[in-house]
């Protein structure tokens, strides 16, 4: 069997909140193959976003290992992890989180500032990303001049511009109207099928989950149902 792109082994994440210890994930095991589009579902507090953050290298496990594209990212230092994120992950937020004082072009260009590229190379990549999301003609617009759906497409362009292997999306349609949500899901589907991006998407919306190739459900930090390809928490 092909080596999974993402391997989580006995992953536990816990943190202190006041006097109590919260454990959003406990002894979790999960494999995700390259080119997969996985929806993570579950009630609030079930550990979906924590799982997403661990895979994205935004957070590190308390115990266990998170191996993504051959690297155990739980062992990387802060600065190495930042560099790893810049090269391997594109993150899409529910609230888009574009920098308000930068234009669409400049927002998309941000991740490329961390790569050794000439201005011309950056321009080519940004234009390609904006074209892919259908917003090349809005490159000089500021976020306040864009609709919610357009802002999310710019955020997706920002996530893909550095050509990462993994896209993680935290409720990407949660703040959008139905039409914009549908367009965003179609775009994610296209990125998965045409550009072979591996996508992990947290969602509460069954319609959004249906757009993914498969979905898993989490409850109290554990996977409660498991499609065939997924290893269930031990």
């Amino acid at each position: 069997m092909k080596q999974p792109l993402i391997e989580l082994r006995e992953v536990t994440k816990s943190y202190r909140k006041g006097d109590t210890t919260v454990t959003p994930l406990a002894n979790l095991n999960l494999d995700v193959q390259q080119g997969d589009f996985l929806a993570l579902m579950g009630p609030s507090g079930s550990g979906k976003t924590t799982l997403l953050n661990l895979v994205a290298g935004v957070d590190q496990p308390t115990s266990g290992s998170v191996i993504v594209a051959g690297s155990d990212i739980g062992l990387l230092s802060r600065s190495k992890l930042a560099k790893w994120r810049a090269h391997h992950v594109g993150y899409i937020f529910q609230m888009y989180h574009l920098v308000p004082v930068l234009t669409a072009y400049e927002n998309v260009e941000l991740p490329l500032l961390l790569h050794s590229m000439s201005r011309a190379q950056r321009r080519e990549r940004v234009n390609l990303a904006l074209e892919a999301v259908g917003l090349l003609d809005r490159h000089d617009h500021y976020p306040r001049q864009l609709s919610g759906g357009q802002e999310q497409r710019v955020a997706i362009a920002r996530a893909i511009v550095a050509d990462p292997v993994i896209l993680v999306a935290d409720e990407p349609t949660g703040d959008l109207d139905a039409a914009s949500a549908e367009a965003t899901l179609a775009l994610l589907n296209r990125l998965n099928s045409e550009m072979q991006k591996t996508i992990l998407m947290v969602t509460h919306d069954p319609k959004a989950a249906a757009a993914a190739r498969r979905s898993i459900h989490l409850e109290k930090g554990a996977i409660v149902d498991a499609p065939e390809q997924v290893l269930v928490a031990s």
Binding site: V58, S79, K83, R85, A86, H97, V99, P100, L110, L114
Partner: protein
């Protein structure tokens, strides 16, 4: 990368235009004061450390400290002239229009007209030296004094009981010197109700070797020890230091005020940067998610802080330069003039103070932003 950081920091400053403008305005005001004070201190430094006056001694009447009360007989000149190591002796009558502290004091230095080039190498910008030597009521004025009073050759100028015709305007590289007017000695001696012909305020003695200054000073004072009018001879530097002693105390106090200005800039910039960082906790978390490391955020915030401080510093320094250039301010004590000297050194001090405060002000907020965990920052926001 650095250019991109500066670009990003600049855009961030424009996010809250009014707040940034108020901060920059506050910093500019403080830096204006700082540079003004630095200019004064620089003027003092230049007046006391002027290389050109290292071989000049000033002979004054003993136990007298004011130009109005020092009355030395002119007949002392030949005796001093004969001392080994003395190159020239110029009798000078000093008249000051204002004995109080003022930023617009006018000092007349009455000298024998044929010796005016001995006391100072005159670099005339306009007018003629011939006109000065040829007319008893003629004066040549320093360019700062001329600019302050709007004087040009051909004009008449009245101070106290003296009315002089402007024969020329001269330039001096030494701050303070271009705030005086040279007149004929005899005019000043005869000009007042009490005729002081034959008496002068001081002698300016040029010597061939600064190392002999103490020995020659002692010799001069010894020479007139048994006369009714005794002398006190000092190096030019020591004379200025003693004449401006009270003023120096005030100037030392202004140094303290200058430091307070820097502290004010620090507090103002730190407050603004701190608020800016607190407002953008989520944005910084997003940047880290994209791949920016703690050191990138640190640099970004430091650049923002530096830009704020330098923008204020540049405006404040430029305003101080303009005020001092067009104001031609001049302080005087007992006939000694001290001008505000706005030199590249003052600009450098202003810019350095701005940059250092910018760096210090941004340090703690930058460190906080660079160390915060992404999940914590996203959760908080």
């Amino acid at each position: 990368m650095i250019l991109s950081l500066v670009h990003y920091a600049w855009r961030t400053m424009t996010r809250h235009k009014l707040r940034s403008a108020l901060t920059i305005g506050g910093i500019a005001t403080a830096m204006f004061l700082f540079c003004f004070i630095e200019g004064l201190q620089n003027g003092v430094r230049q007046a006391t450390e002027n290389e050109a006056t290292q071989n000049v001694l000033i002979v004054y009447q003993k136990s007298r400290f004011c130009p109005a009360t020092s009355l030395l007989p002119e007949r002392y000149v030949p005796a001093i002239q004969r001392i080994d190591g003395v190159k020239s002796v110029v009798p000078v009558k000093v008249y000051v229009n204002n004995c109080r502290a003022s930023l617009d004091t006018v000092t007349f230095l009455g000298v024998p007209p044929e010796l005016v080039n001995t006391i100072k190498k005159i670099d005339l910008k306009s007018g003629s030296l011939g006109d000065f030597t040829g007319r008893r009521d003629a004066a040549i004025v320093g360019e700062s004094l001329a600019a302050r009073r709007g004087l040009k050759p051909g004009d008449r100028f009245q101070i106290g009981g003296f009315s002089v015709g402007i024969a020329g305007v001269f330039k001096s590289d030494t701050p303070g010197e271009d705030n005086v007017a040279f007149t004929h000695l005899e005019m000043l001696q005869r000009g007042k109700a009490v005729d002081s012909l034959g008496y002068v305020t001081q002698f300016e003695v040029a010597i061939d070797d600064p190392a002999k200054a103490d020995a020659i000073s002692e010799k001069i004072d010894e020479m007139f020890k048994s006369e009714t009018v005794q002398t006190t001879t000092k190096s030019h530097k020591a004379f200025i230091a003693s004449s401006t002693g009270d003023l120096m105390g005030m100037i030392r106090f202004t140094r303290f005020l200058g430091l307070l200005c820097v502290v004010l800039v620090l507090a103002l910039t730190a407050n603004t940067v701190f608020v800016m960082v607190q407002e953008r906790v989520r944005e910084h978390a997003v940047l880290q998610t994209i791949g920016f490391a703690g050191r990138h955020l640190f640099s970004m915030i430091i650049v923002e802080s530096l830009l704020l401080a330098l923008a204020g510093g540049i405006i404040g320094t430029a305003a101080a330069a303009a005020a001092l250039h067009f104001g031609h301010f001049n302080l005087s004590a007992e006939g000694v003039n001290i001008s505000f000297a706005f030199t590249p050194l003052v600009v450098a001090a202003g810019m350095a103070a701005s940059a250092i405060t910018g760096l210090l002000a941004g340090f703690v907020p930058a460190l906080q932003a660079s160390l915060i965990s992404i999940t914590e920052a996203l959760r908080r926001s």
